[in-house]
């Protein structure tokens, strides 16, 4: 843990984005997580993604539950809205906030304990309902705050730092998200920002339930030989499907690639995802194929990363519910509390 505030000085040539902010302006206070924690790299990736997308900090709400991962929103986007909820309840709070104010960008930060154990039901339902959000799980396969017990995403056969063998099956959050209808599913690694940052950018622009499972080694309790979530293990077993560029409408695509190696996905809002394919035969629009591919590769001991599935025409919860265009906080009292006459009318409809 570091007590010192990060010095205010930044590199003299640090670029400003379209809003006039530098990347440093999107930071929070210095992290109090263990030195070297993968979660800090995810925070840095989020900062970079938001900075590069020119997003105004006050249009973002970051929500989290309990755990090491859920502490991280303190350390990024210091000028954004934040809500640190009860353990495992971030998805519900996020859903409620989203229903009340659909104008904000919702960033849910959770961990493997917070989402795969206590909050598994909450996770499932927020994805199933298609809440417009970016749901990032910082997945280290261990309970770090309680000193190293296996979590629900620990692989069967993995060894704890003290040598115990995990005999339980792991919960595959990516598989669940695919099954439950998430319209954007990715997996990445905290140690690979070149992959992670564009993935977060694309997810932030996705108008539906976007889920990213981000492997994030715990240097204190899960970075040893025998761990399947260590830096070395992930680097050895990482099989990237594709490499992603996120392109907002303003930028032109200038680089040319061999036909068949690049796929451009134009999204609903005109922004584009450019996928440079590494696995030739993989189709990012086929949910069922994605599911079986994940399982096949996992059986071979590979950790598949990259953009796994995307629906370019997603629908979100507001569309399902046919809610009003404006966010609730912009409606006057009269619209929100229409009074006895309106209630009588509704009641009459049920008689």
């Amino acid at each position: 843990m570091t007590f010192m505030a990060k010095p205010k000085f930044h590199h003299p040539q640090l670029q400003k984005n379209a809003l006039g902010y530098t990347r440093r302006d999107y930071e929070g206070p210095v992290s109090t997580l263990c030195a070297g924690c993968g979660h800090d790299s995810i925070s840095a990736a989020i900062i970079r993604a938001v900075y590069e997308l020119d997003l105004p900090p006050h249009r973002i709400a970051k929500l989290s539950g309990i755990g090491c991962s859920s502490k991280t929103p303190t350390y990024f986007l210091g000028a954004s809205h934040g809500f640190n909820s009860v353990h495992g309840r971030m998805p519900s709070v996020l859903t409620g906030a989203n229903l009340a104010n659909k104008d904000l960008i919702y960033l849910g930060i959770s961990g493997d304990g917070d989402s795969a154990s206590i909050g598994l039901g909450q996770f499932a339902h927020s994805v199933r309902r298609g809440v417009n959000m970016v749901y990032i799980v910082a997945n280290n396969g261990v309970y770090g705050l309680t000193k190293g017990q296996f979590s629900a995403t620990s692989d069967k056969g993995a060894k704890s730092k003290r040598g115990a063998l995990n005999k339980d099956e792991a919960i595959d959050l990516v598989g669940m998200a695919l099954q439950l209808g998430a319209t954007f599913v990715g997996r990445s690694f905290s140690g690979d920002k070149d992959q992670l940052v564009p993935l977060i950018k694309a997810a932030l622009n996705h108008k539906g339930a976007a889920f990213i499972d981000c492997l994030s080694p715990c240097v204190a309790f899960n970075n040893h030989d025998g761990s399947t979530k260590s830096f070395d293990y992930i680097r050895e077993h990482n099989e990237a499907l594709n490499s992603l560029d996120f392109i907002t409408g303003r930028q032109e695509i200038t680089v040319e690639y061999k036909p068949g190696t690049v796929e451009t996905v134009t999204q609903h809002d005109g922004s584009r995802l450019r996928l440079r394919k590494i696995a030739d035969d993989y189709d990012v629009h086929d949910r069922i194929a994605a599911l079986s591919y994940m399982q096949q590769r996992a059986a071979h001991g590979e950790i598949v990363t990259g953009l796994l599935y995307v629906d370019p025409e997603p629908q979100d919860l507001h569309a399902h519910l046919n809610t009003i265009e404006q966010p609730l906080n912009s409606l006057g009292t009269h619209a929100l509390v229409p009074g006895q006459t309106a209630l009588d009318k509704i009641n009459a409809a049920f008689r």
Partner: protein, 596 residues
């Protein structure tokens, strides 16, 4: 790229920009930390070892360290290094007990030193403890050379000069003051084992334009006039004074004039304001004393009437730059300008003069400049026992250069007298010590102060102008000194990387406030500089390279704007980064590395 050899002291020495830039290589951050701790005497001794005259240089140095200061690349202003040096000198107390004692045994070698200025006195300081018999000659009755004759007392109080020269004279050299050497040939016959020439650049340049002869009673050569003021042969000047020249001597002349009765004093310079040779702060000090500086005026004629100077005419010029960017001053086509005056002081440069060195003694002079041929490393002339230093060696420079020359010449003289090869220079030594005291505790103050540069308090101008001896700059008090000392980035506390411990977790990359760390694929420097996490435009600054990482990537750290805050080391889970204090010890005569 080749991994950086951090065992070579020169690599980390270069990271300490101030020390690297200082001709005498003073370990600046080390003494600034001591000042912050209130250990002024210790800070003084560090200075004294490197630059010999901390109190003098703390007031008069040209400060090559300050433009080099890393802080100047991060915010606007560098650390006020020079003024902190003065703090060490002002508050050190009695340090006489810490001076080297007179040697018990003499080594039997006799050295003559000609001139008692900064370079000679540095040679004496370095050689006296080694047992040399030193004989110092100077034409003046007092030590100090140009420091005493040319620097006005309102910039450098005489007590400071006397004190610091006194530490050296107390080491026992024989002082033959008032004895000017008129013939090197004769001195060579006096069986000295070596001779050091530190006679400065004593000749002020004159200006031969119409009226010079006729009005000469009221036209003065700057450095001679300053010397006369210093020795109180001159005590007043006319009410209207023109000072010609744009260097520091001109600034001293105009400010001295203001104190000797000059009311309408102006400086007139050929060049533009920004190209003037004077240090910016000296120009500021002159302007503060109501002295206008007029630029782009070339002296044309001294006007006189009945043998008395009445004024000067100048031609107005403008600067034009040719294709190569060289400046030419061409007539502006405007009418000549005329300024009335009672006195003119010419301060347009100074030159070497060696009428006392015979040309038939085997000491070669170059044909073009009529200067002795002196080796730039050893300071040896073509006559092997004669060495040069200070302004006498390569023309007019600043005091700190004279000190640096003195150290090198002392090494050469020592080697020469011991029968060693003077070309075999002693190596630089480096002590390197980890500063780690706990997980996030360091034995240096790694928090970065955001204070802007502290201005030095000045004496009230009305009081200052009434007294030639009233020091204008009052110096920092302990509170201001602490505030300014905290601005130092501790560049000598180095980021040291251990590739075998690194797990490439990116924690250092993420925390670095100035984005100076990158892990990337290997490549050539030119290519690497385009691929770093922050623009790498300052090619003078090194890239710290380490390889041997598991992924095959290399570590690249751009030293340019590193704050030395230690956050990379604090956030490193494996201790692959450490903050280690380097003390770079540049060899001097008599240091362990120099005596076999």
């Amino acid at each position: 790229m080749q991994p950086t050899d951090i065992k070579n002291p020169e690599y980390f020495h270069k990271v300490v920009d101030c020390q690297w830039a200082c001709p005498a290589h003073t370990p600046v951050p080390e003494y600034i930390r001591l000042i912050a701790e209130g250990r002024y005497a210790d800070a003084f001794m560090i200075n004294w070892k490197s630059n010999v005259f901390p109190g003098i240089l703390g007031r008069t140095c040209d400060r090559p360290c300050e433009p080099a200061c890393r802080r100047g690349r991060i915010e606007e202003e560098p650390v006020a290094i020079c003024r902190l040096k003065r703090v060490a000198a002002d508050y050190k107390g009695d340090i006489s007990a810490r001076m080297p004692p007179k040697p018990q045994q003499k080594n039997g070698k006799r050295i003559a030193l000609i001139g008692a200025g900064p370079s000679s006195m540095t040679v004496a300081r370095d050689l006296a403890p080694l047992g040399y018999d030193l004989v110092i000659y100077d034409g003046e009755k007092k030590t100090g050379g140009m420091i005493r004759t040319q620097i006005p007392k309102f910039r450098l109080p005489e007590e400071v000069l006397d004190e610091e020269m006194g530490y050296i004279t107390a080491m026992g050299p024989e002082m033959r003051l008032g004895q000017r050497i008129d013939s090197l040939k004769e001195l060579l016959n006096e069986s000295y084992d070596a001779i050091f020439v530190g006679t400065g650049a004593p000749k002020g340049r004159d200006l031969f334009i119409p009226g010079r002869q006729e009005a000469s009673a009221h036209i003065h050569i700057g450095i001679n006039w300053l010397a006369n003021v210093s020795f109180e042969h001159v005590t007043k000047i006319g009410k209207r004074v023109i000072v010609l020249g744009g260097g520091n001597t001109a600034m001293d002349c105009c400010r001295t004039s203001r104190r000797l009765g000059g009311e309408d004093v102006k400086v007139i310079v050929r060049s533009g304001f920004d190209e003037m040779k004077a240090s910016p702060w000296e120009k500021d000090d002159a302007i503060r004393e109501d002295i206008p500086i007029l630029n782009y005026l070339v002296p044309k004629e001294f006007k006189h009437k009945d043998g008395k100077l009445i004024g000067m005419t100048f031609e107005k010029v403008k600067a034009e730059y040719d294709a190569k960017g060289r400046r030419n001053l061409v007539p502006a086509g405007e009418p000549d300008q005329y300024f009335e005056c009672d006195d003119v002081i010419i301060a347009v440069g100074q030159e070497n003069a060696f009428p006392w060195i015979e040309r038939d003694i085997g000491l070669a002079f170059d044909d073009r400049w009529n200067m002795p041929v002196v080796d730039e490393t050893t300071f040896q002339s073509t006559l092997d026992k004669v060495f040069f230093g200070g302004d006498a060696a390569f023309g007019p420079k600043n005091i700190i250069w004279a000190v640096a020359h003195g150290h090198q010449a002392a090494i050469s003289i020592h080697k020469f007298c011991q029968g060693e090869d003077v070309k075999d220079r002693p190596p630089t030594h480096m002590n390197i010590t980890s500063q780690k005291m706990g997980i996030h505790e360091w034995s240096y103050d790694n928090a970065i102060s955001v204070n802007v540069r502290t201005a030095v308090p000045h004496q009230d101008t009305h009081i200052a102008l009434k007294n030639l001896r009233a020091e204008v700059e009052l110096g920092f008090d302990d509170r201001l000194a602490l505030r300014e000392a905290q601005r130092c980035l501790n560049c000598d506390v180095q980021t040291v990387f251990n590739n075998t411990l690194c797990i490439e977790c990116d924690a250092c990359v993420d925390i670095c406030p100035v984005d100076c760390i990158t892990f990337t694929e290997d490549g050539e420097e030119q290519d690497l500089r385009t691929r770093l996490n922050a623009p790498s435009l300052n090619l003078d600054q090194s890239l710290y390279i380490a390889n041997g990482l598991k992924t095959g990537n290399i570590l690249v750290k751009d030293e340019d704007v590193c704050l030395h805050c230690g956050l990379c080391a604090e956030r490193c889970p494996t201790g692959a980064w450490d903050m280690e204090r380097t003390l770079i010890d540049v060899a001097q005569a008599g240091s362990a590395c120099c005596t076999k």
